[in-house]
């Protein structure tokens, strides 16, 4: 397939998928709508996480960055009385700024050191939320966070985005735009440079690429979208506390991304969607869930090291070989 027809394929898929996704909640019972909402948020998280992993580094602070966005937007709207429509993008920017600040110590490290460093930095931030009751509310966090509202001329009451369907539709738009931006970013010169920094670090150095700058850029951009997801999340739930962003939740992101595969853009999305749907189906085995996740992780590392995204290609290869064998 050449690239032009591949691009057409993508557009076609989007043209079918998007209206379907937009219509979906109207056909779901109300208690399943939340599932879709949290799934979209998770999609934003894993795709933004992938941007950070492009340069070959694995961070453990992504979940805490999501929390940063949540806390920032909650504080801006609640304590500074900022309009929620402004506090959300501002919170995302603030999260990117926090990431930028953290990148000075963190991105001096590589590989294992970066992993542990990001973990330590994340825990330190989380403990700070617990320790400083003002302004973060301490261990019980913040509540009564103002919701998103929109005054429409033809409605008597403002449209409240605490209702699942309006929030879902808004989130769908935000997610799509974010994915588009992230996709463009990856396929721009910046993204290609990041690939080079990962796979051919000495070549990158030889042609004069300042890899630190590109890694910082990826880290801050990833943080921006994590912060955006966090900010949206907090205005939907109306409350936030430090335990929501503990390392256990971060490990789930890691599992989703790894099981999905990180080579292509779609990999992490496939991972999070497949595992979340499985999760819903096997709800009654909830207490076994972490173990099932663990087992799937071990098995996929062993037998599907490139993730679920590589499954179609592998099956195709198998099929071709069988056909060839039959013909031969």
């Amino acid at each position: 397939m050449n690239s032009a027809s591949r691009r057409h394929g993508w557009w076609l898929a989007a043209a079918v998928l998007l209206p379907a996704l937009a219509a979906l909640p109207f056909f779901l019972p109300f208690h399943r709508q939340d599932f879709m909402i949290f799934l979209l948020l998770d999609v934003m998280l894993v795709v933004s996480y992938r941007l950070v992993t492009l340069s070959g580094e694995w961070s453990l602070i992504h979940m805490v960055l999501m929390g940063c966005g949540g806390y920032a937007s909650a504080l801006l709207s609640k304590r500074a009385d900022l309009l929620v429509w402004l506090s959300i993008p501002l919170a995302a920017l603030l999260t990117a700024a926090v990431a930028l600040l953290l990148s000075f110590p963190l991105l001096r490290m590589r590989g294992f050191y970066f992993l542990i460093g990001s973990y330590a930095a994340g825990e330190a931030v989380r403990l700070a939320w617990k320790y400083f009751v003002y302004p973060f509310g301490g261990p019980k966090g913040l509540k009564l966070i103002p919701p998103l509202e929109l005054q429409l001329p033809f409605l008597e009451q403002p449209l409240s985005f605490v209702e699942p369907i309006p929030f879902y539709l808004l989130l769908l738009v935000v997610t799509c735009v974010s994915l588009l931006l992230l996709y463009r970013l990856e396929h721009s010169r910046i993204g290609l440079t990041l690939h080079m920094v990962h796979w051919q670090p000495s070549l990158a150095e030889a042609v004069g690429v300042n890899s630190w700058r590109y890694r910082t850029l990826a880290f801050a951009c990833g943080a921006f979208f994590a912060g955006l997801a966090g900010a949206l999340f907090v205005h939907y739930l109306g409350s936030i506390n430090p335990n929501q962003f503990a390392i256990g939740e971060m490990l789930y992101i890691l599992v989703w991304v790894i099981i999905g595969g990180t080579r292509t853009f779609a990999g992490p999305v496939i991972g999070v969607v497949v595992l979340s749907v499985l999760n819903e189906i096997f709800r009654q085995y909830d207490e076994w869930r972490p173990a099932i996740y663990g087992l799937i992780l071990l098995l996929s590392m062993r037998f599907l090291p490139d993730g679920l995204e590589s499954l179609p290609g592998r099956l195709r290869g198998l099929w071709r070989r069988r056909v060839a064998a039959a013909q031969g």
Binding site: W58, P105, R108, M109, R110, G111, F112, Y113, L115, I116, G117, Y119, A120, A121, E123, A124, L127, A128, K130, Y131, I247, L251, L254, V255, I258, E287, W288, P290, A291, Y293, G294, L295, L297, L298, M301, R302, P305
Partner: protein
């Protein structure tokens, strides 16, 4: 004065545990270049073994301790064989596998012992040592400290004075050069993993009568072990022990005079600082990729 002396006594006991946790982690990393995220869960398995055998079946405590060391050692060997060895080329692979195992071990602990109240492990050595200046140490803690020190001394002796120890250090310095010298990197890896795991299991077993034995107890262990290992210079056993003692004193005194949350938070900051300023830590000599 009493407060300071009592705090020193508290910190000494802590140092023993911190060292055992960190030395196991450092040994595994130093030799194989793998971060074992499930290290805290190995400690947990050790504690659960003591709970099952000593508190449940009435086995004498020293026997249960030995059993815990053996079982966790066996677990470590299985991990090395099935989770780490196949991923020698990809250091993150081992790490991710250990995360998978961590989830499984936690759920198994929940299934075996349930959630709810902590598992009751009565002290094997009741009573309190009353030292001068009103300093008091529970006998169980004193025993744990002595056993930890003994184990650390034994590991130190092994690494410095035996052929096995030399081989192990050779592998951790340069794997390829060691292989050229005719050292079986594979067998040394197995040995390091078994030893590191046994240390973790022993630590868990010794702690069982003293702390909350519950499925998620590994979390606190792994944070502390990371801080200690990084500050000491990852890969350096001596550095780990030195850092463990320093961190135990720091943590105990900040907790006594200020607050525990602050102590952990500052500990993490110190670790970050070390990572930025001197990533090789107190005693480490070079970076590893």
């Amino acid at each position: 004065m009493e407060l300071v002396l009592q705090s020193i006594a508290n910190a000494l006991v802590q140092s023993g545990f911190f060292s055992l946790w960190a030395v196991g982690l450092v040994l595994i990393f130093g030799v194989m270049g793998i971060i074992n995220f499930a290290h805290g869960e190995m400690v947990m398995v050790g504690a659960y073994t003591v709970w099952l055998l000593y508190a449940g079946q009435g086995l004498p405590f020293p026997l249960a301790l030995l059993a815990a060391a053996l079982i966790v050692c066996l677990l470590g060997l299985c991990m090395e064989r099935f989770l780490f060895q196949p991923f020698r080329e990809n250091p993150l692979g081992g790490l991710i596998n250990s995360i998978g195992l961590l989830f499984i071990l936690q759920v198994l602990a929940v299934q075996i012992g349930g959630l709810g109240l902590m598992k009751h492990v009565p002290p094997a050595f009741p009573g309190t040592l009353e030292l001068p200046f009103e300093v008091r140490i529970p006998v169980q803690r004193a025993v744990a400290l002595v056993v930890s020190l003994g184990l650390l001394a034994a590991v130190g002796w092994l690494l410095t004075w035996t052929r096995l120890g030399w081989a192990l250090r050779a592998v951790s310095m340069d794997r390829e050069a060691a292989a050229l010298q005719g050292i079986s990197v594979r067998r040394i890896g197995m040995f390091a993993m078994g030893l590191g795991a046994a240390l973790a299991g022993t630590a868990g077993a010794l702690m069982a009568p003293l702390v909350r034995v519950e499925p998620y107890m590994g979390h606190a262990v792994i944070i502390t072990a990371f801080i200690v290992a990084i500050v000491g210079g990852i890969g350096s056993i001596r550095g780990a022990v030195l850092a463990a003692v320093l961190y135990a004193f720091f943590h105990t005194f900040v907790t006594t005079y200020y607050s525990g949350t602050l102590a952990t938070m500052l500990g993490l900051f110190i670790m970050l600082l070390v990572l930025v300023i001197k990533p090789t830590g107190l005693m480490g000599s070079r970076l590893r990729e």
